[in-house]
């Protein structure tokens, strides 16, 4: 990356232009991580709508179709997917509220933005973890 400004141009000669560094060499401030995680959890939730659709269609179709869904949800992999779905909702919800606060002009100071990003990470893990554990206590396991 260090020699990027001197890389050959279309003519084959080095251009010698100043270039901004590639994404990979920046530090990862927590605000940048939160921004990327917001987009990633958004994509994950888009995938999650397929599971939501499956759940509703299976429940509407009858006990046989529902048994297939229930077996998949009770499988350890299904439980991981369910926890990921739940955490993605919690993160996207909390960070979405952070975005709405920015939209009306609050929370732009750097220390504030860093603190709220940390709060979103901690809060989403606590909420998702707590809800998942409560779900397990109530039913002896999600999907069982």
């Amino acid at each position: 990356m260090a020699d990027a400004p001197n890389s050959p141009g279309p003519s084959g000669r080095p251009l010698g232009r100043p270039l901004s560094p590639h994404l990979q060499i920046y530090r990862w401030p927590i605000t940048m991580a939160a921004s990327i995680t917001h987009r990633a959890t958004g994509v994950a939730l888009a995938g999650g709508t397929l599971f939501l659709s499956w759940w509703l269609m299976a429940a509407a179709s009858g006990p046989d179709a529902y048994a297939v869904f229930a077996a998949a949800a009770a499988h350890p992999l299904g439980q991981i997917v369910l926890f990921g779905f739940l955490w993605s909702i919690c993160f996207h919800l909390l960070n979405g509220i952070r975005h709405l606060a920015w939209d009306v002009g609050y929370g732009f100071k750097v220390p504030t933005a860093k603190m709220t990003a940390a709060l979103v990470y901690a809060g989403s893990l606590i909420l998702a973890g707590g809800a998942f554990v409560i779900g397990m206590m109530v039913r002896g396991g999600l999907g069982t």
Binding site: A46, L56, P63, L86, I89, H99, A131
Partner: protein, 127 residues
């Protein structure tokens, strides 16, 4: 070159952006709606994803559960299509691929939303 649009349409025109703040505003409206709806959905899913088919169908047969679920399906699939559209516009620079993916994005949102809504309505109307 002669411009055929009227002076009014020129001053009202949004130039190459075509649509002003429509996308931004709809994403925010659905975001605000999804604050209570997604909390309600997460709680319902936690309580009922492990229940048997009869319990799930009975839960969504109640109007007090079917209506928020319907609103959640509409708001979340619309919010999803708006969000994925931004990601496609950010990362796909080939015009043909971009248009194909933007179409696919909208079709998928309608397909997923419709499938979920029809399943819900079936449970709500045939308890």
């Amino acid at each position: 070159m002669t411009r055929l649009n009227t002076p009014l349409s020129k001053i009202e025109g949004l130039g190459s952006s075509k649509s002003g703040t429509h996308h931004f505003w709809h994403q925010r409206m659905t975001a605000v709606a999804l604050i209570p709806l997604s909390i309600w959905f997460a709680a319902s899913a936690l309580a009922y994803v492990g229940a048997d088919q009869g319990a799930v169908a009975a839960y969504f047969a109640e109007p007090i559960n079917a209506v928020p679920m319907f609103l959640f399906i509409v708001a979340s699939t619309y919010h999803m299509s708006l969000g994925l559209q931004v990601i496609i516009e950010d990362y796909i620079h080939n015009e043909g691929q971009k248009i194909a993916l933007l179409l696919l994005n909208r079709f998928a949102a309608w397909a997923i939303g419709s499938a979920s809504a029809f399943a819900l309505i079936r449970m709500a109307l045939h308890p």
